[in-house]
Amino acid sequence: MATITITIKLFAHFRNGRFKEAAQRLDPGADCRQVILGLGFRLSEMGIVMVNGQHAPLDQPLNEGDTLALFPLVGGG
């Protein structure tokens, strides 16, 4: 089965010791939760999860070319 490639973007302290932006290959049908856990995060650390600039539930499946952005709970202006 062919793999898909997505872009992962991390923000705020999620970047510490990890990366800002990276490409990742996934099996088709992988969802946000799998990627998050695969990066070593706990689900309770997640503030905002966006796929292609829109808020996404954890079980949203990812497609070829998607951008997954992960933010801790931060913010306020």
């Binding site: 973007k9 923000f11 705020a12 302290h13 970047r15 800002k20 503030g47 905002i48 966006m50 600039g53 829109q54 808020h55 952005a69 933010f71 801790p72 709970l73 931060v74 913010g75 306020g76 202006g77």
Partner: protein, 576 residues
């Protein structure tokens, strides 16, 4: 005695009045808006003798409650033509509260050309003639007053922009480190300038202090409240580490970061100006990533930003300013933005109104997009010296648009729209439309729920639930603005069940009152309705509760979103 100080600049007289019973139990925004609504004729000229400038500390200011040291100022706004309340940190609110001054009302305008200052102390308020500090920037005024009156003196001042009565002029309040926090929006600095008051100094020597009706109950409620603030990830961790500027990347990602005068929703240079980069820069240059705008703030969203030689460049460097000159004017050099922020503080200019005015000026071709050096030059040499161009830009985004024939002018009630695109974050558009203050994100910060997942989740791109969200937040905000609390306590208040009851318990313990949650909501509703009634009497109509046309006609990338609320849907906001 709880008292009101009144200053009449026409007769140059002052008086001390007992707090009238109708205003008992009011503070902050509730009190400034009640006074302006009762005493200012809505149709008066905002810079004429009939307008009044009112200062009031919040209900809990001066107590040991965390984050309670905010000061409200109110008047008729020369920018919007409606009622205005701004609030600010700094040291003044706590000093006024300890002096048991519920409000200071400045009325009338002087007959001659002279300038004055006010001296507030335990004996009341005195008017003094002022000449030496005229024309000086806020930093020089604060330095001079600190060496004259001592480090502890409170200062509320206007810079050259206020002296020129520019409608972007703000009022500056000294913070605990001798720098500046601003009563930013709506041109209140011009109102103070129209009364020819360069500054107020406050001396709280011998102040009687705060009397707490039930000190034990207050202490335990205050402990619960502080714990909630520290426990919530936004107020306990996010804001102290990255400040408000962490929002650059979030709004960029969500497609709600207004770019190139609200043409796009994302900015290519976002990584250069974002909170993460700013945090690393501050640390590398020996600045302070966290800093409080008043004693008693446990969140400390503010910071001290140094230049590359490690010298102070600016503080209180907020997302809205960085967005305004950054994405909105396409400037991707944080140092240029920081220098401009410092100059705006010194001149006494609202950094949101001014940044948006620059965006419109760039669209008009007055200066190139992204030219931070030219922004700095115009601030210093045009606005600072009061040239014709400087006065146009210093009069705000609407003035620049009208003068140069620009149609893309992001304002509501002539006040510049801040840092969140209402097409792709629709809840905030309802707040911009309906807030009696004009376009003001703090009046009902739907970003919390639309974007940050605080207080639930309402999809930012859909219309569903936005009017209700904005209404609930505006009601709560009006009440919080009356307590002296910083609005950032709303993050824990929305998520942690003990937080709001603890706040109400503190109010009850402070005043020996029996307020319930419903009473607080009722207070918020009354404030909004009072403010709206003032605006209607001043000549505004439902047609003023609208976004500019281009938000309907020009889709914003990347979501190609447009503003698609009907007038009826917007007007339903007021059904409460």
């Amino acid at each position: 005695m709880n008292k009101i100080l009144r200053v009449n600049m026409h007769d140059l007289t002052t008086s001390i009045e007992a707090l009238p019973p109708e205003w008992a139990g009011l503070g902050g925004r509730a009190l400034t808006s009640a006074i302006v609504a009762k005493e200012v004729p809505p149709t008066c000229h905002a810079l004429g003798p009939d307008n009044k400038l009112v200062f009031a500390p919040g209900l809990l200011s001066g107590t040991a409650a965390s984050n309670s040291g905010r000061l409200s100022a109110g008047a008729k706004s020369p920018l919007t033509g409606g009622i205005k309340e701004c609030n600010v940190g700094g040291t003044a609110a706590q000093m006024l509260a300890r002096l048991r001054i519920n409000a200071l009302i400045v009325e009338g305008t002087p007959k001659g050309d002279g300038w004055y200052s006010l001296r507030v102390s335990k004996d009341g308020v005195a008017i003094q003639e002022e000449a030496g500090l005229l024309g000086l920037g806020n930093f020089a005024v604060i330095d001079a007053l600190q060496s004259l009156l001592g480090k502890k003196t409170g200062v509320i001042a206007i810079g050259p922009a206020g002296e020129m009565k520019l409608t972007s002029a703000n009022i500056s309040v000294k913070d605990p480190s001798g720098k500046i926090r601003s009563l930013g929006r709506g041109g209140l600095g011009a109102v103070m300038g129209s009364k020819r008051i360069k500054f107020l100094s406050i001396d709280d020597e011998g102040a009687p202090g705060i009397q707490i009706a039930d000190p034990e109950k207050f202490k335990s409620a205050s402990r619960i409240f502080t714990k909630a603030l520290m426990d919530h990830p936004v107020s306990g961790q996010g804001l102290p580490t990255y400040g408000t500027n962490v929002l650059v990347n979030i709004l960029h990602e969500a497609g709600g970061l207004p770019t190139r005068n609200f043409t796009y929703g994302q900015f290519d240079g976002h990584e250069q100006i974002c909170g993460e980069t700013m945090h690393d820069t501050i640390v590398a240059r020996g600045g302070k990533p966290r800093h409080g705008c008043h004693a008693g703030c446990v969140i400390q969203c503010s910071q001290v930003y140094n230049d590359k030689d490690g010298q102070y460049l600016t503080s209180g460097f907020e997302y809205e300013t960085i967005w305004g000159l950054g994405a909105n004017c396409c400037i991707s050099t944080l140092d240029d933005i920081a220098l401009a922020d410092n100059i705006m503080d010194d001149l006494g200019l609202d950094s949101i109104e001014t940044a948006v005015a620059f965006g419109v000026a760039m669209e008009a071709g007055i200066l190139p997009w992204g030219d931070g050096k030219e922004v700095v030059r115009i601030l210093r040499e045009e606005i600072g010296r009061g040239t014709a161009l400087g006065r146009v830009i210093g009069s705000g985004a609407g003035a620049v648009g009208r003068t140069y024939g620009v149609t893309r002018v992001p304002t509501v009630k002539n006040q510049a729209i801040p840092a969140y695109d209402p097409r792709s974050v629709k809840g905030i558009g309802i707040t911009y439309c309906t807030s009696p203050m004009g376009a003001d994100h703090t009046a009902g910060y739907t970003i919390a729920t639309n974007i940050l997942n605080v207080g639930g989740q309402v999809d930012p791109l859909k219309k569903d639930g936005q009017v209700e969200l904005s209404r609930n937040l505006q009601i709560a905000t009006a009440a919080i603005d009356s307590t002296g609390m910083c609005i950032f306590i709303a993050f824990p208040a929305l998520d942690i069940p003990e937080c709001l009851p603890a706040l109400i318990d503190m109010l009850n313990a402070r005043f020996g009152a029996q307020l319930t949650g419903d009473d607080v909501v009722g207070l918020g509703k009354r404030i909004l309705k009072t403010e709206r009634a003032f605006n209607l009497a001043a000549g505004m109509t439902a047609a003023d509760d609208r976004l500019p046309e281009f938000f309907r006609t020009d889709p914003v990338a990347p979501h190609q979103a447009v503003w698609d609320f009907t007038n009826e849907e917007i007007d339903a906001f007021w059904n409460f």
